[in-house]
Amino acid sequence: MAIFADKKNKVLVQGATGHQGVFHIGAMKEFGTNVVAGVTPGKGGQKVEGVPIFNNVYEGVSETGANTSLVLVPARFAKDAVFEALDAGIKTLVVITENIPFHDAMEFVHYSKYKDAVLIGPNCPGIASPGKTKIGILPGQIFKEGNIGVASRSGTLTYEIVNSLTEKDIGQSTCVGLGGDPIIGTTFIDALDAFEKDPETKAIVLVGEIGGTAEEEAAEHITEHISKPVFAFIAGRTAPPGKRMGHAGAIIARGKGTAESKIKAFEKADVKVAKFPTDIADLVEKYS
C-alpha cells in the first residue's frame, strides 16, 4: 500500500509535448511509473518517449484506460485542462502548474470533490510512492522504499527532507507535495487520514511553512484522530512579515499563521518539531 498513488495509477500527461513534459515523462518512466498517454491539442498521433499523444483527454482515456492525470499546462489553460480531465473520468489529478489564478483553483478544487476525485496541488511537485510510482516532477534519485509518510507544502524543502531520510537509510511509503498556493485540493488533514489508514506507513512527517492556518488545523486533527507518531518542520521562523490581507485577514487568523503559533500547536499535539530540515531524519531515526 501507499497513499493516493501506487501501481494501479495509469498516468496521462496534459501538456506532454513541451520541454517539461518530455523531460518528466522520461524521468517518470525511469522511476517505474505507468505512463500510458499524453495530451496536447493538435499534436495527436505523435509519440513522446514511446508514449502516444492524443488531441484530448477523452480520447486518451478511452484508448489507454488512463485513470490519473499529471497537469503541466501553463496557468492560463490549467482550469480548462482540469475540468476536461474530470469530465473525461480521471479520478486522480496532480496539478504541477504554478501561478494559477486562485479563483480558478477554487472552482476546480470544488468540482473535483463533486466528481469524487483526488486532486493534489496546484503549484506542487507531485507525489511519489517509492518502488511503485511517481506522478510529478520530484527528483527520482532521492527516494527509498520504506515506512515514513511525508506530506509537505513546499517543493524543494520536501526533496531536502526526503533526501536526508534516505541518506540515513530511512525509506518512505509515500511523499506528497501538497502545494504552496492558498487554495489546494489535498490538505494536511486529508494526507494524515490517508497515512493513518495505510498499513505500510509507520510514522508521518509534515513540512509546513508560515502563512495560513493549515498547520494549526493539522495539529488539532492529530490530537483527535491520528495515532501514528508525527514529526514536523516549519519554514519561515525568521522570515520578514508578509503581506496583510486587510482587517479580514486579521479577523480570520486571530494570531495564527506565524511560525511560533504553528510550532506551539504541533508541540501541544505531541508532534516533534525539527530546527533544521535535515534534523527531521535524526528525530525519525531516534524514534525507530
Binding site: P101, P125, P139, E217, A235, G246, H247, A248, F276
Partner: protein, 366 residues
Amino acid sequence: MKLFEYRGKELFDKYGISVPNGKLVNNEKDFSDLKFPFVLKAQVPIGGRGKAGGIKSVDNVDDAKEKLSQIMGMDIRGYTVRKVLAEEKVDIKKELYLSITLDRSKRMPLIMASGEGGMDIESVPDDKIFKEWVNPLIGIQSFHIRGIVSKLKLEKEEGKEVAKVISKLYKLFREYDCELVEINPLIISKNGDVIALDSKVTINDDATYRHPDIVPEQVELTPLEEDAKGKGIAFIQLEGNIGVIANGAGLTMATLDALTHYSGKGGVFLDLGGTDDPEKVKQAFKLMKKAKPKVIFLNLFGGITRCDTVAKGVKEVITKEGIDCPVITRIKGCNEDIAKDILKDAGLITGATLQDAAKKSSDLAR
C-alpha cells in the same frame, strides 16, 4: 495587487455601490465643484494613514489649500503621498463592516459583516462578526445574504439596501479575481443611503492579465528591485550581508532560518523558482553581484530546476566577469553530479551540507 482607495471606489461605482461625491485633487482649482466641508485623504497602499495624519477635514478654500500641501508629499510608513482624494462629508447614522475574502481552509469566498464597523473592527469579538461561506459551484444565493443581513439588526429598508451591496460586492469579488474586497466603514446615512466610505481591493496577481483595465500604480522600487522585476526574478532585500540564491519559497525561508541559527544575516534573497533557463540564472547572478554581498550562498535542490543548468549559468558569469566575494554552494537533486563538476571547474566550493554551508557563509560574513 492592492488598489488605492480611489481606484477601488471606481470599481464600486462601476458595480453600482454608492461612494461619496469626490475626486483626486492637485490644487485649489480642483476644489471648485466640491461642497465644503470635505475630507482630504492620502492615497497610499497601507492602513493606518488616519493616525499618521493622512486624513484631514477641511472647511473652506484656504483651509483646504493648507492641508492639501501638508498631505501631498508626506511620508506614511515609507510611502510618499502622490495622490490625494477629496470627498464630501456624509451624515452618518450607522457604521457597518463588510468584506469578502478567501477562506483558505474551506477554500471558499467568505463574506463577513458586522454592525460595529469603524476603526476598531479587529477588536470586535467573533460573536459580533457574522460569516457566510459561498461554495463557488453554486455562487451567491439569497439565503447567504439573508443569513448575514438578518443578524445586523437593521431597519427593513436599510436591510434591503445592504443586501444589494453584498450581492454587488460578491459580483465584483468574483469578476475581478479579488483576494479581498473590504468596506470599512459601510455607512447608513441619515437619509437612509448605504455608502462605502472606504475601499480596500486586492486583485490576485496571477489574474491581472485578465483585467487590462486595472493599471498598476507607480510604486517606487530601488534600482535593483526594478531590475529584478523586469527579469521576472523574486527578489527580497533584507538588512544582512549574505546574498542568498535558492530555489523555491520554502527552501529560501529555511535557508534564512539556517543562517540566523549561525548568527549570519541574509541580505539580498533571490528565489529562482522553477527556472530552467540558463539566461535567467545568469541574470540572477549578475543581479546578486550588483547587490555587493560579503558572501554569496547558493543553495539549490533540483526538481524541475536542473542543477546543471543553474551551474552552467553561474560558471559563465564567474569565468567571464570574475567575482570579488566568496561563493559557497550546496547542490542536491536533479543532475547534481554534473552540476558539482561544473562548479568545481569554476573554482567554487561544493558538496557541503546545509548546516556546513550556512555556518561557513555566516563565519565568512562576519
